[in-house]
């Protein structure tokens, strides 16, 4: 795996990845293993994964907009 910044070794269970959706849009999420984030392109939000636990709370999500690491919003859908 690539450079994992977080010290946490716990990985998110693949079974969870199959059933999780964005709580706001109910749309699909993409898993960024390096950043330990679940990304909802439609909502423009990245939900953190801490100690293997996805934090699917809008309050805790990072807004994708300005930090252009994921230019997904520009792509349209």
């Amino acid at each position: 795996m690539s450079d994992t910044k977080t010290g946490s070794t716990a990985k998110v269970d693949p079974k969870l990845l199959e059933i999780l959706v964005c709580p706001l849009t109910k749309g699909p999420l993409s898993y960024d293993a390096a950043a330990q984030e679940l990304i909802s392109e439609r909502a423009g939000l990245a939900y953190p994964i801490r100690d293997g636990i996805p934090i699917m709370l809008v309050d805790e999500a990072r807004t994708l907009d300005s930090d252009n690491a994921h230019p997904a919003k520009l792509a349209g859908h």
Binding site: D13, L20, P23, L24, K26, I53, M56
Partner: protein, 313 residues
């Protein structure tokens, strides 16, 4: 977030804060959650069905999970009660989840993060009474169930803490000449069946239990509620600390009105149990009026007498 919405009764951030704060010491205060977890599991045992993939919504530190899949195996492979192979535990409070095991997700009952048709079973142990939009939450839950999947949830009902509500109200009235909301509004049994139907559940069933818990004093009761993470999170709650004089007077009234012979005071917790199924064609349904294949009079071997009014065709 949306304080202008008149349907918004509870401050969900406060609910989370109370749970986060209570999480570390929760083991000392979770008796009610453990008791109701047992009762939920008993109800589940009566259902002749296996549920390979289950969701515990509002799991706190995993009280129900420990009953259903055991202390060691929570959420891991290995069959639990009712054929549970996978148990996903979800709570609004990440700190509470830290005390649970197995597959965990931090999520809000009002904005569920689960895909449609994910679960065979959804259970909820004393959490849904803090949800603002209960019909919306139940609708999302129903959609997260596979067809013919089952929901069963326990939540606190309208008679809960009626003693404390009365004593605080009367003490505050005496002290300040007015009252403020100090105990949550709870759902009533008579509303719960309609809520399930509105959310699209088939075969809805609602019943209730009353648990009476005794405490040394009303102060001990209030301290316990804090330990349970169940203190007032109403949006209209007073933000100032409750005056000491009010608490002392309320506790005095409580001791006068609700003392047991042994000097302890009683507190009521009413638990509503809501159950329903995600619709499926195999479920029994009432036939349409007028589609009878046989006459009732024949079955009863009697003569049919007109009651004067006919059913519409």
């Amino acid at each position: 977030m949306d304080d202008s919405d008149i349907m918004t009764v509870f401050d969900r951030r406060a609910v989370r804060r109370h749970r986060d704060r209570a999480a570390a010491g929760f083991a000392g205060f979770n008796f009610l959650f453990e008791e109701v977890a047992d009762r939920l599991a008993d109800r589940l045992d009566d259902v002749v069905r296996e549920f390979p993939v289950a969701l515990d919504l509002g799991c706190h530190t995993g009280e129900l999970g420990r009953v259903l899949v055991g202390r060691e195996g929570a959420g891991r492979e290995g069959l639990g009660r009712k054929g549970i192979e996978t148990l996903v535990q979800c709570d609004l409070s990440p700190a509470m989840l830290a005390g649970a095991g197995g597959l965990r997700v931090a999520g809000d009952e009002e904005l569920l993060p689960f895909a449609d048709h994910s679960f065979d079973l959804a259970i909820s142990n004393l959490s849904l009474h803090w949800v603002n939009d209960l019909p919306g939450a139940l609708l999302q839950l129903r959609r997260a169930l596979k067809p013919d999947g089952m929901f069963i949830g326990a939540m606190l009902g309208g008679e809960t803490l009626f003693e404390l509500r009365r004593c605080l109200m009367e003490a505050e009235m005496d002290l300040t000449g007015g009252v403020s909301a100090r105990i949550s509004p709870f759902a009533e049994v008579k509303d719960a069946g309609g809520l399930l139907q509105r959310a699209g559940f088939s075969l809805p069933v609602v019943d209730s239990d009353t648990l009476t818990v005794t405490y040394d004093s009303a102060f001990k009761l209030m301290a316990d509620l804090r330990g349970m993470g169940e203190t007032n999170a109403g949006l209209n709650r007073r933000r100032q600390p409750t005056p000491r004089a009010l608490l002392i007077d309320a506790a005095r009234r409580y001791a006068e009105l609700y003392s047991e012979p042994d000097g302890r005071v009683a507190a009521t917790f009413q638990v509503l149990y809501l159950a329903g199924w995600a619709p499926h064609e195999s479920q029994q349904k009432p036939l349409r009026p007028g589609t009878a294949q046989a006459r009732l009079a024949d079955a009863l071997r009697t003569e049919e007498k007109s009651a004067g009014d006919k059913a519409g065709r």
